[in-house]
Symmetry: C2
Subunit: 370 residues, 2 copies
């Protein structure tokens, strides 16, 4: 990955390779990165995937064909969606910083909106009339101040935030594929967003969003933004998940207060107790974010690329590494130290397990068995 | 002034002297303290007052007679009110710490309530139903946790806080004399408070509370307490004055959040922005105050008593000191240094001006001409 000013564009063939790799079974953004780094490119990684998966214990094939990927590209083109790759100039700059940034982002609408400084406005689906009114006022003022307002296209606060910032450019991050908008009744709103703003998704075409896709999507909402404003949120609500991602990603967290007797304010009041900035007007957000958006973004350091794995990795060595793993996340460094194996050997075994769906990667270079 | 454990009681005659001195024209708590310290007691100070006032430029007499004071004592006794002097065991411990603690506090009801750890619950007179409900819940829970709930007997939040903590002991600080309850319709509430709690006032019997008496009273509400909770407060409201006093006095400030669209939450939301602790339940208050009430209270250092003033203080020296004063508050130390006069001489001139109503004392040993 390179600084935006030096961003390079993938060739069409490279983009197809990237799409095939990220759409392979058990390949998420972190595995994509590990494979890409280990094999020095998506093409080489794709060739290695079947063997790796088999050695990790997987049975069936796990890799879309070149034709499958081409078909998704074609479907995307029909809907006016383009795939922006991590490191390309149009890729949202801040999103590059997060650990599990999608290698490819499917973008529909005005891609220039992704280059605006961005702030998320999220909240309850069952919002109160006051909450909706406040979200509208806030989103309008943040838009007029030059920010792209980012949200999740949900009912309630999300929709209010998008609607009030249509003119200045608003970004909706989808939990499913571009051809599976959720909720369906927001199709018209989604259409209105396209003029100045954009819809983005990391999910394949045809993917109906499932419950677990929403929290996963929320990391992109916070990841694109310099800060997240939670307008109304009950305890244990999706908006709080977005706020937690924001904290993990080093983003600013803002919350709008409410009466302690209103359950829809419990989550946002809790956030303020925990240190979130209290917001009663856009100026409260701008005072914190304006100094931040002026400063250069520090991109995450990359692991150095490793040489190809030693061919002689034997069954005993593999078993020793697997034995060190369990359901409790452990640092990869510990595996290297305790197994006595080379870093390259450990990485290969982890990739094998991962592609077989037996390994989970956590933040901070921790891994656990599933 | 001594530590509570060593508190001594005034004799009846001393208490009369204290009452006469604090009821003299232009003698507030700070002047009382200066006179008492300078002359080594209220009796000697009382003898000096007429001459001092005359030299300061005052015309009329300014000192109630012994009979006047005895009459107030009698009126107080009839209503079951007793005068507790600064330094006596029943005087609220924390109140002793403030710069302008009243030398005598007129107490009606259960004086033992003044020895409980105390927390103020204050807010809007035109409170919302939700605000009243929350104030009741909070005051009840704080009372059950062993705190005396202190407030101002006003309509709205104050009355709700008192009502909900009648059983555990609640303290109402009056802005006027004990025989001039305000608002009059809270006479029954005031009566109910007396069983477990107390009404307190620094004001003379017969004093109808005027507008300027309320902010002055508010410093006692915060002064008695370890912390102040503001439940609903518009901008520029009396509750914010109490919060400001609390900050000046080093008390904890708490505020209950509300919707940014509710004008009654503007003041409390502002307080949270400025660093007040957000409160949604009594536990938020207790978590901060419990560690504080366990720690010993550090009493303010006293100025050492000065010798009697030099008799030979001449007109030229007096004029030189007065000339250094103006409407801008200046440190008393500067007056001593710039005038070349002795500290005792400067103090006497200041007392003269003060008793003539021409001097204002501010916090931090600053003074200005009126």
């Amino acid at each position: 990955m390179t600084d935006k000013s030096e961003g390079v564009r993938l060739s069409d063939e490279q983009r197809l390779d990237w799409l095939r790799l990220i759409r392979s079974d058990n390949v998420g953004p972190r595995t994509f990165r590990a494979l890409n780094n280990h094999y020095g490119g998506a093409r080489a990684a794709l060739s290695a995937v079947p063997d790796l998966a088999r050695r990790g214990g997987a049975t069936g094939p796990a890799r879309p064909s070149r034709e499958d990927a081409a078909r998704e590209f074609k479907a995307a083109k029909t809907l006016g969606v383009s795939f922006v790759a991590l490191g390309e100039p149009d890729y949202p700059r801040r999103l590059q910083m997060i650990d599990d940034a999608p290698p490819l982002l499917a973008v529909r609408g005005n891609a220039a909106a992704l280059n605006l400084p961005a702030v998320a406005v999220v909240g309850a689906r069952n919002a109160s009339a006051a909450g909706v009114r406040f979200a509208e006022r806030l989103a309008r003022d943040l838009g007029e101040a030059g920010f792209a307002v980012v949200s999740g296209l949900a009912r309630g606060i999300d929709a209010a935030a998008h609607r009030a910032s249509l003119a200045s450019g608003t970004i909706a991050v989808l939990a499913g594929g571009h051809d599976r908008l959720y909720p369906p009744e927001h199709a018209e709103l989604a259409g209105a967003i396209l003029a100045q703003g954009a819809l983005v998704s990391e999910m394949p075409f045809g993917r109906e969003p499932r419950a677990r896709d929403f929290p996963r999507r929320n990391r992109l909402i916070s990841g694109i933004c310099a800060g997240v404003v939670v307008v109304e949120a009950a305890r244990r609500s999706g908006s709080l998940i977005t706020a937690r991602f924001a904290l993990e990603q080093g983003r600013e967290v803002f919350a709008v207060p409410g009466s302690p007797l209103d359950p829809r304010a419990e989550g946002s009041n809790d956030l303020i107790k925990q240190g979130a900035t209290l917001v009663t007007e856009a100026a409260d957000v701008l005072a914190v974010l304006r100094p931040i958006i002026g400063t250069p973004i520090e991109l995450r350091a990359e692991e150095p690329e490793a040489p190809p794995p030693p061919a002689e990795l034997g069954a005993a060595e593999r078993a020793r590494i697997v034995e060190l793993l369990g359901p409790t996340p452990v640092p990869i460094d510990d595996l290297m130290r305790l197994s006595g194996s080379s870093p390259a050997a450990v990485r290969v075994v982890l990739l094998e397990l991962e592609l077989a769906g037996r390994l989970e990667r956590h933040g901070g270079a921790l891994v656990s068995l599933l």
